[in-house]
């Protein structure tokens, strides 16, 4: 036992001491948050000012559309030919046909496809004018209409959790994030195990080592040591993320309420605006607070401690399962180039796992989700979704079955890997085949 501790310690300390560990630890959360921010930011960015020319054949919308900072409306009563449009400084052309009140359709021509945000803005502006016109034609009072108009909100309740709003979908999303993390960790650190084994074999240090310790101890020491590196990294990431998140959230809180208010404003035409300002104002003020409230509710309702405990369980067992296979591959091959053939099949079962976990976000009770959360090769990723939604706790039998099977499987794969490993590490200059690997399983220790 003392020897295996030594091995674990060496594997851990040599990796943690590397500058790359520190960099990854610091950069991980920054990259994650930065990456998300960048995607959001880029998605919101426009490539410059959009000059939208409106061919108003219906004579309805002219001068009634509101410009925004990036979107300017211009009006032309007459048809514009393609070549003229092409030569013009306009970026987008919207044709409002005379029968718009019946067919509710406009046609948008563009030089460069405008973003969804721009499309939505244009469509919303025209919608408002058309709506106002329809109200006028049908002699409906806008205030009455506003009262009638219904944006139905569906609140989900799980019958087993009486009387409380259910945020299963959001929680499933969080579960998926955990599952994804497991996927990444298994891959990242599994490959590290493989590289470590290959390094020992290529350095020829391995025979020196196995004259002191059993090959199985050496393999397990490496696997456990690298798992600890992963855990250390994960804990540091959590700590860093909590710090960054707290700072970021308090910043965002001020920001969201302000911008949400601003965004919610231009929902009605000016004429209507005044009339319904009072009604709207109440709603506007409500929404950001409500969103934050929902977030707090979700966090409150999320079984955080069981999630973290089970996350550790599924991460460790899933990692043990896969890393032992990676270790076997590392021991069997001589050169980096040979690894591909054997490495490729290993993560393949993880892929459908990730895919199913994604569908589980929308349908956590589906049969595919059930099966993939039981099968050990995919359960670490898929079960996390069921755990986060609380579904797994309603079917404790299934959870325990999944956990038990996972343990049994990693014991089995570790045993298999150990047998390949002890032969593989001492085998040089031989092109290994699958058949050969099979034979190694039956060599006597």
């Amino acid at each position: 036992m003392g020897k295996i501790k030594l091995i674990i310690w060496r594997e851990f300390i040599t990796r943690v001491r590397k500058p790359s560990f520190l960099i990854m630890t610091l950069l991980g959360p920054l990259l994650l948050i930065g990456g998300i921010s960048l995607v959001v930011y880029l998605g919101m960015q426009e490539n410059g000012i959009q000059n939208v020319v409106v061919i108003d054949k219906a004579h309805l919308v002219t001068n009634k559309l509101h410009d925004s900072d990036d979107i300017k409306f211009f009006y032309e009563p007459a048809e514009m030919s393609d070549s003229v449009f092409k030569a013009s400084p306009y970026t987008t052309l919207v044709e409002v046909n005379p029968l718009i009140l019946e067919n509710n359709t406009v046609q948008l021509f563009y030089k460069d496809l405008p973003s969804l945000t721009v499309q939505n803005y244009i469509s919303r502006e025209i919608e408002k004018v058309i709506e106002a016109e329809k109200l006028r034609v049908n002699n409906v009072d806008p205030v009455t209409y506003q009262r009638i108009k219904t944006a139905l909100k569906v609140q989900l309740f799980d019958i087993d959790k009486a009387g409380k709003r259910s945020y299963d979908q959001a929680k499933a999303g969080i579960g998926f994030a955990f599952g994804y993390l497991i996927f990444i960790f298994i891959f990242l650190y599994g490959v590290q195990v493989m590289r470590g084994v290959m390094e020992e074999k290529q350095n020829r240090v391995v025979e020196v080592l196995v004259s002191s310790v059993k090959p199985f101890q050496l393999m397990m020491g490496k696997i456990v040591g690298i798992a600890m590196v992963g855990l250390a990294q994960f804990l540091l990431w959590i700590a860093l993320s909590v710090v960054l998140g707290t700072v970021g959230l308090s910043f965002a809180k001020d920001h969201i309420s302000a911008s949400a208010l601003k965004d919610a404003q231009p929902q009605m035409t000016t004429q209507l605006q005044a009339q319904i300002d009072q009604t709207k104002a109440v709603q506007d003020q409500d929404s950001p607070n409500e969103e934050l409230g929902v977030m707090m509710d979700i966090l409150h309702e999320l079984p955080i401690v069981p999630i973290l405990v089970l996350f550790l369980f599924y991460f460790l067992c899933g990692y043990l399962l896969y890393s032992s296979l990676f270790a076997a591959v590392g021991s069997a091959v001589d050169a980096e180039t040979d690894t591909q053939q054997f490495m490729l099949p290993i993560p393949i079962p993880l892929m459908p796992g990730l895919f199913i976990a994604q569908t589980a976000v929308y349908n956590p009770d589906g049969p595919a989700v059930f099966w993939f959360s039981i099968i050990p090769f995919t359960s670490p990723v898929v079960m996390m979704v069921r755990i986060a939604t609380g579904n797994a706790f309603d079917h404790l039998g299934e959870l325990f079955l999944s956990m038990g099977l996972l343990i049994a499987t990693f014991v089995l794969t570790t045993w298999f890997a150990g047998r390949i490993y002890r032969t593989g590490i001492l085998m040089y200059g031989k092109k290994v085949t699958w058949k050969e690997l099979g034979k190694w399983l039956f060599y006597k220790g």
Binding site: T14, V205, E207, V208, L209, L426, K444
Partner: protein
Amino acid sequence: MHAYAGEYLRPDQQGHKRTGMLAAENIVKRFGDHLALDGVSVTVPPGKIFGLLGPNGAGKTTLIRIITRITGPDSGRVMFDGRPMTEADVAEMGYLPEERGLYKKMKVGEQALYLARLKGLDKKEATKRLKEWFDRWEMGGWWNKKVEELSKGMAQKVQFVTTVLHRPKLLILDEPFSGFDPVNADLVRTEIMRLRDDGVTVMLSTHNMGSVEELCEHIALIDRSHVVLDGSVKEIRKRFSDYTYTVDFKGSHVAFANALAYLGELIEHKEEDGTCTARVKLLHGSSLNQVLAATLPSVEIIGVREEVPRMHDIFIRAVSTATPQQVPAGFTE
């Protein structure tokens, strides 16, 4: 059993149970279809340097790996210090494999310490002994260097030190001199003899027959999974002696040949500065004395010496080259 197996064994050695520091008894090891060791028995006497010889692929490394418990035999057993070997005995062994190396990115001192602690030494004791060795072998400045900064010979020195640091009772060295320049090879050779004098039993596997003659008191020769030669070096060389003498004399070689008659066969002769040198193989159980008595009247004998076969020749003679070796690729020897 192959026909040649045991051909060179003395009758009293065949199947005779012997004791030693280490004894492998009837070891059989099979890898798939390949029989790597087929009933191999060797005994390493305590406090001596024992040579384990054999051509590539004969099964030496497999035998060593069984002795060091890296792998297990299919049948047979290994005795250590007169009793069946246990896992705990691994701590009493030092093994320098032929395929050896160190972690390139680790510092020399840290790495030596790590290997020593894996052998069961505690940190303090290991540090102390390492410092002593590093001083003695003038490696003091290497402690904080990374292994990749060392030359091959330097790394080999570190490797040797880590092999013997825990003061093993049994030292197994596979090609210990490879990678050393002559100066350092001498250093290692002296060290091996010093360890032997301190009571350490050494098993030396090498293709360098010069060092076998120089260091080994006993050898076993493995060829194609069998022990084909086993015993003390002195006795084996005697056994392989074919009663050939080199005779220097002054006079006519025709007269010498005539005088020799049927007592011996004149294999070859040459003349240089009036001195003839003849190689004579004794025939029909005649003795050197008879030859001398017969030839003395005809020529003036200047010198006579027996031709003792070199280990090199014994090796080649013992290893039958009649059948191609059935060695699967990948098994390093």
